[in-house]
């Protein structure tokens, strides 16, 4: 169902954007603060477009905010990677780099979607995502190949987050349906590009490919880590405490 697919895409953008927003005012340098907020704005903007369109095709008179603020954790279809805590800057960069890499190849395919709206959306978003990937790849290099301390932290972050990358590339039921209809790509075909890009950047950054092979999953089916509940408690607080109000 296209509706579910739009939500899956939108939830990723919303939740990761939310995490990046937590950096605002606390980043390692003012310039980095502004850069992270720019990415948060891009992602939150993408979520908004996707939810608006989802609400439209659903045709039940719901709004983008109903979708973002009035669903519970099991209805969120974002990947576990997106909801992982910011950690130190290396963790944020590793999470961003894995996500951007996948997202870049995904949107490059979505530009050719049979769904006209989605193709248009992807073309616009791809420009943003291309920049995100450039930003996060460069920081992987800086931290991986910077000082001994930064190298250690970056290696640790890559190791810790690697187990959340499998889910990106494993098709959910929705992914499969979309691929069958020519709306979305076959994720199995993106796997090689993803792996190659990651290996290339890590190697340039003097980082080891993570040794973990066991992968976490469940996010796309609404089975999340403990983190999402807290994100939603925060995010949805006003809409839940004062239902039906204008803000």
């Amino acid at each position: 169902m296209l509706y579910n697919y739009l939500l899956q895409l939108g939830d990723n953008a919303l939740i990761l954007g939310h995490r990046l927003g937590e950096w605002c005012g606390h980043a390692p340098e003012l310039e980095i603060d502004m850069a992270l907020t720019n990415i948060a704005l891009d992602l939150t903007g993408q979520a908004r477009s996707l939810y608006q369109h989802a609400a439209e095709i659903e045709g039940k008179g719901r709004t983008e905010d109903d979708i973002a603020y009035l669903r519970d954790a099991w209805e969120f279809k974002n990947v576990l990677l997106a909801e992982q805590p910011n950690g130190d800057f290396a963790h944020t960069i590793a999470r961003q780099f894995f996500y951007d890499t996948f997202n870049f190849f995904l949107h490059r395919e979505l530009v050719g979607s049979r769904d006209e709206w989605l193709a248009g959306f992807a073309a616009k978003s791809l420009k943003e995502i291309t920049y995100h990937l450039r930003f996060s790849s460069e920081w992987v290099l800086r931290l991986g190949d910077g000082t001994d301390t930064s190298h250690e932290k970056m290696q640790a972050a890559v190791e810790e987050l690697w187990m959340y990358t499998g889910e990106l590339k494993i098709p959910s039921k929705t992914d499969q349906e979309m691929a069958a209809n020519g709306v979305g790509p076959d994720l199995n075909l993106l796997k090689a590009s993803f792996d190659e890009k990651v290996a290339d950047v890590l190697q340039k950054a003097n980082l080891q490919m993570p040794s973990t092979t066991w992968m976490q999953g469940g996010g796309k089916d609404g089975v999340h880590s403990e983190h999402l509940g807290f994100i939603l408690a925060d995010m949805q607080y006003l809409q839940r405490a004062y239902p039906g109000q204008e803000w």
Partner: protein, 320 residues
């Protein structure tokens, strides 16, 4: 020219509205005053990100969340523009930040007040940014070129900040009883601290007169404060909210609103560090700075390595 002649030449330029630029001769005290004022202003922008930042994760709609993120990002930008302007006076950002974190430099006391409800985000935009704009518009004509130019850019960007805050207040004031309560409560808490933003009374302001002569400042604290009260009263009426001042009254003779006495005891105490959030705010900045040290260091180390590699490659190419 003798020192005295330099000084006269400088003041003549200021009087003739010719901007002073970084490499021009300037009295030492002028330089020091500018560094103090510009950096205080920069610190205020950066610390000012924190109270609003509290509500990014809880913004009640996607639209509000985008606006709030963009607004706080602007504040980072404004801090950055101002640090850059201060740097033209021969001090580094690192030194300026050090002064903030050690408690040596001040920032606007308003940011030592807590944001307790969503309405506080509205009140900050409406009142705090409204008060700041009064001051900033004046500063676009400051005698020091880099400062004035930074202020022009800041004022342009700020123009949406007050509006978005007022829009939040308007929505709440028209909303449910609970929302109306939030709006009134926020106005009650932010009104007096906003009036304090203009600084001590003219009679008690240590630096005002000299700054006016140097045209760093063009209006006195009390003038700006009066101007703010005069325009804000009507805006509160449109919202249907009550300004928490029983002495507030139109004075026909003066053509201005009279208003009650500010609690200066509270003002000086917050300046001295006794505000509700002085410690949290500074701790948050110190933590960001310390946690970020290894990142800044890594980027520098990487840049140097890259530069070295480039040099080696070009040396190799030349040899070949």
């Amino acid at each position: 020219m003798t020192e005295l002649n330099f000084e006269k030449h400088f003041q003549d330029k200021v009087d003739a509205e010719i901007k002073i630029e970084p490499k021009d001769w300037m009295p030492d005290a002028y330089r020091k005053t500018l560094i103090r004022q510009i950096s205080q202003h920069a610190h205020s922008e950066v610390v000012g990100m924190l109270p609003e930042g509290n509500w990014i994760s809880r913004a009640p709609s996607l639209r509000r969340k985008l606006i709030l993120l963009a607004k706080i990002q602007d504040e980072a930008g404004h801090g950055l523009y101002l640090y850059s302007a201060a740097e033209t006076l021969g001090i580094s950002r690192e030194e300026l930040v050090e002064q903030l974190l050690s408690g040596k430099a001040k920032y606007s006391s308003i940011f030592n007040y807590p944001t307790l409800t969503w309405a506080d985000i509205g009140a900050i935009g409406w009142l705090v940014d409204g008060a700041a704009i009064m001051n900033q518009v004046m500063l676009t004509r400051a005698s020091y070129g880099p400062y004035a130019r930074a202020m022009v850019r800041i004022c342009k960007e700020e123009s949406f900040h007050q509006r978005q805050g007022y829009e939040i207040m308007l929505t709440l004031a028209k909303g449910s009883a609970a929302q109306q309560h939030m709006a009134q409560d926020a106005l009650n808490r932010w009104w007096w601290p906003s009036l304090m933003m203009f600084g001590p009374k003219d009679d008690d302001s240590a630096h005002s007169q000299q700054s006016m002569k140097w045209k760093i400042k063009r209006k006195s604290n009390d003038e700006l404060r009066q101007q703010f009260v005069d325009v804000t009263v009507q805006q509160a009426e449109v919202l249907g909210l009550a300004i928490p001042d029983p002495d507030l009254k139109w004075n026909e003779e003066r053509g201005h609103y009279d208003f009650g006495e500010i609690n200066w005891d509270e003002f000086w105490n917050v300046v001295k560090g006794n505000g509700p959030c002085n410690k949290q705010r500074l701790d948050a900045r110190i933590k960001a700075h310390e946690d970020g040290a290894w990142v800044r260091e890594a980027a520098m180390a990487y840049a140097e390595k890259k530069e070295q590699r480039k040099l080696m490659e070009s040396a190799k190419a030349e040899a070949a």
